[in-house]
Amino acid sequence: MSKEYWRWPEYRRTVPGKDWTKAGVITAGVDIGSVSSKVAIMTDGELYAYSIMRTGSSSPDSAQKAMNWALEGTGMKLDNIRYVVGTGYGRVNVPFANRAITEIACHARGANYMWGPSVRTVLDMGGQDCKAIHCDDKGKVTAFLMNDKCAAGTGRGMEVFADLLSVPIQDVGSMSLSVEKEPEPVSSTCVVFAKSEAVGLLRKGWPREMVLAAFCSAMAHRISELLEKVKVEKDFVITGGIAKNIGVVSRLENIIGIKALPRKEEFDPMIAGSIGAALFAKALYEKEAKPA
């Protein structure tokens, strides 16, 4: 059984010191991506619990599993949740969702919650896509671009490289920064061709750190092109799995000349979409609850 280097750790968390039974409105956001599924449960618009797991072959099953896991140990049941919004690639397949909202709006809203109203540019790097979002101080989207056509600049592209070089994916970033001299980025934007290029480099005697550095550099360049189209403006934040890859993040910051706001301890960067969805859930619930 070969080691699965691409497999990142799954995770759940309950925010300490909160009693959900005393909450007024409990809502949830379910973000079903093509690679990972995230659930965020919020009480009166504050984060209460969340889960992050790998999406399986069935979206409805993944949604259910992620929700069950988020609820685990809290004593809360699905029935206690007043309104659920589904988002992400599998949003229409969340059986217990009240409605689906595209992830554009959810990510911006989530970033606004996590870092505050100063956020203007959100870069979300997902498993199979990469989104550049420009928003205002309320977290409302003003410009948006997504690349989901091409693996270059996505988590899947990174997984392919981690696997190729037998490096656990969560170590890729730090390893790529351990090089003495920064190499040229791999010349192909295409991950498939970059992979062949990497094999050639390894045969030439390049150590793994250097190949990783070359690839992270190429990824960072590709992402910077994406960001250019929506114009990067401070404050700049990064969400999604690749926010945890300092090899790509630091190189990207160098290229665009802007530092991203530091990650928040209490919020995993992958849950921005589900948080935004949960906040929309609250707003929609309150709107629909008002007498006409």
């Binding site: 072959s57 693996a151 192909s188 991950v191 498939v192």
Partner: protein
């Protein structure tokens, strides 16, 4: 001097007397030299017997002993019209690049379009999908012809397509149907690229992927025209290059 394979064609009085093919590998120059020597031997000739050597392909600057070189587009036009004098559109799908060339009756290239830098538009796509399907590359084509249903394929990227194939397998889609979807997907991209040029008959298909019956079938259906395929289609580029001094076209 292709990205994946080096091909050599030796002509005597305009007729093919020998051919050679081998993986380009890491040292393209060395591979090329070896294939070249083998082809010479098969032809019963030595280097001094050769009047003119033309190189083509992505690695053409590395070709040993070349007198000149010609672009792949020019080589395709020459080779295609030599084999089929009525050829006016030549489509060449190799391991890493797909291209379409419009040419005139003399074999001169008029216009071209290339799909490069994206593995989904070339033979690498089919190879990668073959791995995901756990089928030998040579068997992909015949398998696709056994398909009963057309299954849509959404991914435009080789890496995402691999995941899509895995999902289709999980959903118990018959392998033949998946194989057909794969061929349709790449044929769709090649056809769209060719339509940008304007399709003028007769249409000739060359390059390594032209050996794939599933791809030929898909391309015929999607382009909606008859497609001529020569035997040993992967040598047409080399053939075209060899014809440069004879036809007096192209070459630098």
């Amino acid at each position: 001097m292709g990205a994946k394979n080096v091909k050599v064609v030796v002509l005597k009085d305009g007729q093919i007397v020998s051919r050679g093919i081998a993986l380009s590998g890491i040292d393209q120059k060395a591979s090329a030299q070896q294939v070249f020597n083998e082809a010479l031997q098969k032809a019963g000739a030595s280097l001094s017997d050769i009047k003119y050597i033309t190189a083509t392909g992505t690695g053409r600057d590395l070709a040993p002993n070349a007198n000149s070189n010609i672009s792949m587009m020019g080589a395709d036009a020459l080779g295609g019209t030599h084999l089929f004098p009525t050829a006016r559109t030549v489509i060449d799908v190799g391991a890493e690049e797909g291209r379409a060339v419009r040419c005139d009756e003399k074999g001169k290239m008029i216009d071209f379009v290339i799909n490069e830098r994206c593995a989904a538009g070339a033979g690498t796509f089919i190879e990668a999908m073959a791995r995901a399907l756990e089928v030998k590359v040579e068997e992909m084509g015949p398998l696709s012809l056994k398909a009963e249903k057309a299954v849509p394929m959404n991914a435009q990227c080789t890496i995402f397509a691999e995941s899509e194939v895995v999902s289709l397998i999980h959903a118990k889609t018959p392998r033949a149907d998946i194989s057909r979807a794969i061929h349709d997907a790449i044929a769709d991209r090649i056809a769209s690229m060719t339509r940008r040029l304007g399709v003028q008959r007769d249409v000739v298909l060359v390059g390594g992927v032209a050996k794939n019956v599933g791809f030929i079938d898909a391309l015929k259906r999607i382009l909606g025209v008859d497609i001529l395929v020569p035997p040993d289609p992967e040598f047409v580029g080399a053939l075209g290059a060899a014809l440069v001094p004879i036809r007096g076209i192209g070459g630098t």
